[in-house]
């Protein structure tokens, strides 16, 4: 980060050499930080998009039945990871339930609860929008790890061939959901 002080030793006055060295060191740093400002720190890479969705087999909250991705094959799936301790999930959930009502015959909605307690999940569902679609319990975080979940909520859009088409980090906006759901069909 230094301008070499050797520059214009002989002459008096301004050293263009030092100026250029200094600018060569500092300008790229400034340019980088400027670019950094315009980058979205929340965007995360999603390498699974375009790849087959990892299989899972999880217990359903309502009756303890095992539900696997295999058994849902044939219909596109919207997979929503959430938790009771997640604030944005509260805003997102009622909308997901209403969207499931609207699209339910064409697309299977599935909620996967991430690191939570069953009794809290039930209370939460009662409080924030109800049970429009199956809720599965991800014991040991296995499924969330297999999907590369960074946090909740995260939503995966899986087509009828079982390939992940899109992934949304954070709460899904309504327009976004209908657009991405449309692409699945």
């Amino acid at each position: 980060m230094s301008a070499a002080p050797e520059g214009g030793r002989a002459g008096r006055g301004f050293s263009y050499k030092a100026l250029i060295i200094g600018l060569v060191v500092t300008l790229p740093l400034l340019a980088l930080l400027y670019m950094g400002l315009s980058m979205d720190p929340h965007r995360m890479d999603a390498p699974l998009v375009g790849k087959p969705a990892p299989p899972f087999e999880l217990h359903r909250l309502s009756d303890g039945q095992l539900v696997s991705l295999e058994s849902l094959r044939g219909k596109p799936v919207i997979l929503n990871f959430w938790a009771t301790w997640c604030m944005p999930c509260r805003q997102e959930h009622p909308f997901m339930v209403s969207a499931a009502k609207k699209l339910g015959d064409k697309i299977q909605f599935v909620g996967i609860v991430y690191q939570d307690k069953n009794e809290m999940v039930n209370a939460w569902l009662d409080a924030y929008g109800g049970r429009g679609y199956p809720t599965l319990i991800d014991a040991g975080t296995k499924t969330a790890i297999a999907y590369g979940v960074y946090g909740v909520p995260e939503t995966y859009f899986i087509d009828s061939q079982g390939v992940i088409r899109d992934k949304v980090v954070g709460p899904v906006r309504p327009d976004e959901l209908f657009e991405l759901a449309g692409r699945l069909q």
């Binding site: 400034l30 930080l33 980058m39």
Partner: protein, 655 residues
């Protein structure tokens, strides 16, 4: 209230910009009247900022929720001392606090320089005021804490961030860090003044030595306290994770440390004037860069949803500071000749130069590592991480080399040492290092790195102790003084040197503590039912019970763990989980049992709802306490060096 605060900030902004303008013109004309006016404006600026901070504190304490910031961080349930410190619990308030500290330093500088260095003062004050203009602009505009709360005005607020409330160290560590960061403005301004005045010849660093030592001491303290806070609060058993925020505080510390050594070389031997100056400028730039990094949101991680509006403003300021510095240096290069060649690589000069090289390399590596994710994303569009394993690869060898040089430098004479001299000066201390390393091996150190650390640290401490002893012995020999008297007068005559030696001992202690705690940490974890035990190493931990306590601002679940070691009962420890009214999730309070040998560190991961079982993580961290002790030693050494003396100019005659 909000109105009054805004008014004071606007007044401070006007005064700061006026002070900068008058100061620069007084610097050019050399007018004594201009200087008087500048000093007056600086004091008035400081008074306005202190006043504005007072207004904010008043609003916080009286829960005046019509002030936006109070509505944002205040809460009726929060205890008074937390309310007071919530001034720096959130972005806008912390920038105001920043301004307050600048006001304190400005006042200190104006009062301390009455009638001294009058030729340099106008430019120095003008530069301080220019920095002040920027910060008051931030407070007045993009980060204004004195906004009006939109109606309806709430009757209660959410309270400050839960982590602030979680530990006392959170109350003192940010101010220490800010005192360090903001304080770098003063030596920077003095350096700029020296450049503007063309006074960058031999000895120009002398007056700003102390002004650099003060923020250096605060920064040292702030960094280690930050680590201590992380250790006591975050529950992962460590104190340093090479997080961008931590790196941001380390960067200016590294260059400031390099500067303090380069300045010695510059004063004593007239070497590296330009390099010394560059270090000074870079140190200030890094404090601004660090603030940008921690405040702009650029380096935020995945799930933080705070995007700050001050990023662009900060970047503009950083760009101005960087480019102005480059231009100033370029205009003064002809005065910044590196000085006469040194006589021999076997000399103290050479050791200092290599020391500076290593500090520069360290700084650059941390900077590259911290910014590389940005570089990679800009170039490849892919998110990458650069974490602890990367930094360790560089920090360990560089750190060891620096500690080794900490012994070599003082051991070598200025000028030139013959082979025999080198052997005589280095031999006994190296033996000291070997003894310490052997002692370590005898006590169970079996790995190369910690053994090597003991060797170099022992070497450096031996050199330091000999350097403390030699002048005392010389006095006893030559003047026949008693031991106590000889020590006292040696200390009086070489206070800065003695302070430096104490700091070196502190550094050696810190490095050994880091090496041992990093190499020999033991981790165990598990779920224990009530009454059952968990054994980790020679500790046996029994889960006695869990109880809930309701406090005004939080609900605590406290686990009682009975601890015994090798059958000896050590009493109970009480790690807890805290649920804050305003936070969705529990935040742990680890329990730490500190001893000089090792810490037993318990972190609750979970408590089942009925309190029948507990998930516990157990760390046995050797020697960590010595890191906090080392901080005390370093700060003490810094105080010795900074403490005002009547004969300050005469001190350090032999260094």
């Amino acid at each position: 209230m909000a109105e009054l605060g805004r008014l004071l900030i606007l007044a401070a902004l006007a005064l700061a910009s006026a002070g900068a303008l008058v100061g620069f013109s007084a610097g050019r004309s050399g007018s004594a009247r201009g200087l008087r006016i500048t000093r007056g404006l600086a004091l008035a600026f400081a008074a306005c900022l202190v006043g504005a901070t007072g207004v904010m504190e008043y609003a916080l304490i009286t829960h005046d929720f019509s002030v936006e910031y109070v509505a944002h961080v205040g809460s009726l349930a929060t205890p008074l001392h937390i309310t007071i410190v919530s001034l720096w619990s959130s972005l806008d308030g912390s920038i105001l606090f920043w301004g307050f500290i600048l006001a304190v330093y400005t006042t200190g500088f104006v009062l301390a320089t009455r009638g001294r260095h009058e030729d340099m003062q106008p430019y120095t004050l003008a530069t301080i005021m220019a920095v002040g203009t920027f910060f008051t602009f931030l407070i007045a505009g993009p980060a204004n804490p004195f906004g009006d709360t939109p109606a309806p005005i709430p009757t209660d607020g959410p309270g400050p961030n839960a982590l602030l409330q979680n530990h006392a160290l959170m109350i003192i560590h940010p101010p220490m860090l800010y005192m360090g960061y903001v304080g770098m403005t003063i030596p920077f301004a003095m350096g700029v003044a020296a450049l503007l005045k063309g006074r960058s010849g031999a000895g120009w660093t002398r007056p700003l030595r102390r002004w650099m030592l003060i923020p250096w001491g605060f920064l040292t303290c702030g960094i280690i306290l930050g680590g201590w806070w992380a250790y006591e609060v975050l529950g992962w058993g460590g104190y340093w994770a090479w997080d961008p925020v931590e790196n941001a505080s380390l960067l200016p510390w590294l260059t400031a440390t390099a500067f303090l050594h380069a300045a010695m070389l510059q004063e004593r031997r007239g070497l590296l004037a330009g390099w010394t100056l560059v270090l000074l400028l870079v140190t200030f730039q890094l404090t601004i860069l660090g603030t940008f990094m921690t405040r702009s949101g650029v380096f935020n991680s995945v799930h933080s949803f705070t995007q700050s509006p001050i990023g662009p403003t900060f970047l503009v300021f950083l760009a101005m500071v960087l480019i102005a510095s480059v231009v100033l240096v370029a205009a003064n290069v002809h005065r910044l000749a590196p000085g006469r060649p040194i006589e021999s690589p076997a000399s103290r000069e050479a050791a200092f130069i290599v020391n500076n090289l290593l500090f520069a390399a360290f700084t650059f590596t941390v900077l590259v590592g911290t910014t590389f994710p940005l570089i990679a994303e800009a170039a490849r569009g892919v998110k990458v991480s650069v974490g602890e394993p990367f930094f360790d690869q560089f920090a360990v060898p560089l750190g060891l080399a620096i500690v080794f040089l900490m012994g070599v430098g003082p051991a070598m004479p200025w000028g030139r040492a013959t082979g025999a001299e080198v052997a005589r000066r280095m031999g006994p201390p190296l033996l000291g290092g070997l003894v310490l390393a052997a002692l370590g091996v005898a006590l169970g150190v079996r790995d190369v790195l910690p053994a090597l650390t003991l060797l170099v640290a022992g070497f450096a401490v031996s050199v330091t102790l000999r350097d403390v002893w030699d002048p005392v012995r010389a006095r006893m020999t030559a003047k026949g003084e008693s031991l106590g008297r000889a020590f006292a007068s040696a200390l009086r005559r070489g206070r800065r040197r003695f302070g430096g030696q104490v700091v070196h001992i502190g550094v050696a202690i810190a490095v050994v503590a880091i090496a041992l705690s990093q190499s020999y940490q033991i981790i165990g974890e598990g779920v224990i039912d009530k009454g059952a035990t968990l054994t980790v190493s020679d500790y046996t931990l029994q889960f006695v019970d869990a109880r809930s306590v309701t406090e005004p601002h939080r609900e605590r679940t406290i686990a009682t763990i009975a601890v015994s070691k090798g059958g000896r009962d050590l009493g109970t420890m009480e790690p807890a989980l805290n649920n804050y009214a305003t936070e969705m999730n529990a935040i742990g309070s680890p329990a730490v049992r500190t001893s000089p040998v090792e810490d037993l560190y318990l972190s609750v991961m979970s408590i089942d709802p009925r309190g029948q079982s507990i998930g516990l993580r157990v760390f046995i961290n050797p020697a960590v306490a010595w890191l906090w002790i080392a901080m005390g030693v370093m700060v003490f050494g810094c105080l010795i060096a900074v403490w005002p003396t009547r004969r300050s100019e005469a001190s350090g005659a032999v260094a």
